[in-house]
């Protein structure tokens, strides 16, 4: 047969299961953070074969010989540990109850499976009567699948699969549970598929079934492919071996099985790894160089397997977090950090502004009340000067503020810190000798200087500080002006609020 018709190509496939006690251990092992070698179990120890279009392949073997594992790997349910697998075409697997939802009725399951295979509602309506008729379920079709017997589930599963038209059908012991009439009906269907050039890959314990439909047979034997060939050739060998094996005494049989299992545990895929990595091992130990090479390879056993595993994994998980992804992610993270920083600083300044406005309105309302009475009072000028200095103190803080902000460094909470320091500074720097006229001169100039910086300055902290300082400056002017108007304000209250 030509290579064009190869449907499934399997090369040196191995499958290792880690027999871990807990799930977290298992996951850590898969992610290769930790590995315990003594718990390995090699369900497949290097299997190679090709399957061509229009063939029916039967897989036979004892329980636990790796038949199901092989089927699962071929149907891509899980990936092989090492080796290459190529599949040309759509696969569809059927095992007892595979992909059936137990809570749904048979009819709903048919609908769901067909939907998931991409059929439209109209197509489903035309196909589903055929499926129901083929499945021979009768009235049970409207019962939940959890109430079905295993034979009924197998019938339903086979009926659905037979009508979804896959290129490669994979059947996992499903036919062995059906009765003989349904089995013969299914075989007719399988022959029909074979005639259409479809590939059938199935597992069965029944030698009769295998002889009936298989063209070729794979004999799996404890993780190895013991024989593969025409049905007429392999099946007699297998049956003969089974007979011989059953003749042995019970302890002998158990001993044999445990020996084989032990071999599966201690197996290492070195030879296969070497083959896969295309290293040449000198067969003969003729020269000393060859011998040394062989020795080094033997010492590197585990590394070789790991390397091969990695290579297979690379083929399977062919994705990398590329350079562009890194760049984009880093840029976006920076963008988030920057915008949040700016936004937080902005809202902080706004809050300060509103807080001060509230304070100011409070203060002015407080002032207006005593103003009427205080016009008579006209206490001493010294108190006026204190009120003036307090407003001057706020005014003078912008000069100190950048230094405070710089020393604090970055971010949001610092705004509040600086806020408190501003107030502290105001309280501390009550200097009696500052004259009243001084703030009026300083104030108008300051916003004029700082406002052009506002939009252009990129650093968030600076923007915030600048905005705040200008705000406080303007606030100070207004307050000082208002106090100037009032002249003899009740200064004790004024000082208290600040």
């Amino acid at each position: 047969m030509s290579t064009e018709n190869i449907k499934i190509s399997v090369k040196n496939i191995t499958k290792r299961f880690e027999l871990m006690k807990t799930r977290s251990e298992k996951i850590l092992n898969i992610l290769s953070f930790s590995s315990k070698k003594d718990r390995n179990f090699w369900a497949l120890k290097g299997v190679s074969f090709d399957v061509f279009a229009g063939e029916a392949i039967g897989v036979v073997g004892l329980n636990g010989s790796g038949k199901s594992t092989l089927l699962n790997i071929v149907s891509e349910i899980y990936p092989p540990t090492t080796g290459e697998l190529t599949i040309n075409g759509d696969t569809s697997i059927i095992s007892i109850g595979a992909g059936l939802k137990p809570a749904l009725t048979g009819r709903d399951n048919i609908q769901l499976k067909l939907l998931m295979s991409g059929l439209t509602k109209k197509e489903i309506k035309t196909v589903s009567p055929d499926i129901i008729a083929f499945s021979e379920l009768g009235d049970f079709i409207d019962q939940p699948v959890k109430n079905y017997s295993s034979g009924m589930k197998a019938k339903l599963g086979f009926s659905i699969m037979a009508h979804t038209n896959p290129d490669i059908m994979i059947i996992d012991e499903a036919l062995s549970v059906g009765d003989s009439t349904f089995a013969s009906k299914s075989f007719d269907k399988i022959r029909e598929f074979k005639a259409q050039g479809k590939t059938i890959f199935f597992v069965s314990h029944s030698a009769g079934q295998v002889k009936q439909i298989a063209d070729r047979v794979i004999w799996m034997h404890f993780g190895e492919m013991r024989e593969m060939g025409e049905t007429t050739e392999v099946m007699p060998h297998y049956e003969q071996w089974q007979k011989d094996f059953n003749k042995k005494s019970k302890p002998e049989r158990e001993q044999y099985i445990s020996d084989m299992k032990h071999e599966q545990r201690t197996f290492s895929a070195v030879d296969i790894a070497v083959q896969q990595l295309a290293l040449d091992i000198p067969e003969s130990s003729a020269s000393r160089v060859d011998r040394e090479k062989r020795k080094t390879l033997e010492t590197q056993k585990d590394k070789l397997v790991k390397q091969a595993t990695k290579q297979t994994q690379k083929q399977i998980q062919n994705t990398k977090f590329g350079f562009i992804n890194w760049v984009v992610v880093i840029l976006l993270v920076n963008l988030i950090a920057f915008t949040s920083k700016t936004a937080l600083a902005d809202s902080q300044t706004k809050r300060d502004e509103t807080a001060k406005k509230v304070e100011q309105s409070k203060r002015s309302s407080q002032k207006k009340q005593p103003q009427k009475k205080a016009s008579k009072v006209k206490k001493s000028t010294s108190k006026v000067s204190t009120s003036a200095t307090s407003s001057v103190a706020v005014d003078s803080t912008p000069v100190n503020e950048p230094a405070i902000a710089d020393s604090d460094g970055n971010g949001i909470p610092d705004d509040q810190e600086t806020d408190t320091t501003v107030n502290d500074g105001a309280a501390e720097s009550v200097a009696p000798d500052i004259t009243y006229s001084a703030p009026a001169d300083v104030v108008p100039s300051q916003p004029a200087v700082q406002q052009p910086i506002l939009p252009s300055s990129s650093s968030s902290a600076n923007t915030g500080e600048a905005a705040k300082s200008s705000n406080s400056a303007t606030e100070a002017t207004t307050s000082s002006e208002s106090s100037a108007e009032s002249g003899t304000a009740s200064t004790s209250q004024n000082g208290g609020t600040q």
Partner: protein, 271 residues
């Protein structure tokens, strides 16, 4: 980058399949209940009415922050619509692959549309609450805002964020089983930090500022801003919040699609 585009492309070409799966799922999920799909609407309404009584009347939210109870109710319903939708979409989408993998791995089915199916089936909750909120608004004498087309944008934004976040989560949930418990707690908290029931704008401090920038508050307050009445506080931080929202969405999409593609062939081994 290419992975992410591929995944988005898959959503587009399999869109009919998503719709069909949603329709089917709606039928089958509520099959065993007497009231059927009505539960999808009853459940959120019961939740909202409890919150309305406790927060609206008990804690006086409808008097202090909002002008009247009808306004508060419609305000809460709109926020609840988006939040319930997001919560259901993210929780469902994050677990979708884990729950379906046994069935899906045995047939040819695009795994990346599973979160999308969960998101799409959560849309009914949104519609029910949204329509209810609009009805309350209109009966309370408040008209739909003139900026209503923006509501479509916020819905789209919610869907985009939900998808990329669930895609990211769906792989992590399989790798780290404990993650789902963390996610559940976090999603429950987003109702409070997202300002669904209590107005975040009333927090006049740094906490309020930070919460206003989070993606949850962005969509919750956004849809209110667009549909109910404009919210100056929300609009003040609109630009930074938008930038943060979409940056997070893209980051989750990039990392999520990378993880998804890396592990999708061996998902079943991790279970």
């Amino acid at each position: 980058m290419i992975n992410a585009f591929k995944i988005i492309w898959e959503q587009i070409i399999y869109f009919p399949l998503i719709i069909r799966m949603v329709k089917y799922g709606d039928q089958s999920t509520y099959q065993n209940f007497f009231l059927g799909q009505a539960w999808k609407i009853f459940n959120p309404i019961l939740q909202v009415s409890v919150y309305f009584v406790i927060f609206g009347f008990g804690l006086g939210q409808s008097r202090t922050v909002h002008s009247n109870p009808a306004e508060y109710l419609s305000w809460m319903l709109l926020g609840m619509a988006i939040w319930r939708f997001m919560n259901e979409a993210i929780m469902g989408g994050s677990q979708s692959i884990k729950h379906q993998i046994g069935m899906v791995s045995k047939m040819k089915f695009p795994l990346s549309i599973l979160p999308a199916i969960s998101i799409a089936s959560a849309i009914w909750t949104f519609l029910a609450l949204f329509i209810l909120g609009t009805a309350t608004m209109l009966s309370g004498g408040i008209g739909v805002s003139q900026e209503w087309p923006w509501a479509i944008y916020y819905l789209f934004a919610t869907i985009a964020f939900s998808y990329s976040f669930s895609l990211f989560n769906s792989t992590i949930v399989i790798l780290i089983p404990d993650y789902i418990s963390i996610l559940r707690v976090v999603m429950m908290m987003t109702m409070w930090i997202g300002g669904v029931i209590i107005k975040i704008g009333t927090f006049n401090n740094v906490i309020g500022d930070i919460l206003r920038l989070l993606p949850f508050n962005y969509v919750v307050d956004g849809i209110r801003d667009a549909w109910l009445r404009s919210d100056t506080q929300f609009e003040a931080t609109f630009l930074p919040a938008t930038l943060i929202f979409w940056s997070l969405t893209i980051i989750f999409l990039l990392v999520g699609s990378f993880l998804h593609n890396k592990f999708k062939k061996s998902f079943i081994e991790y279970l």
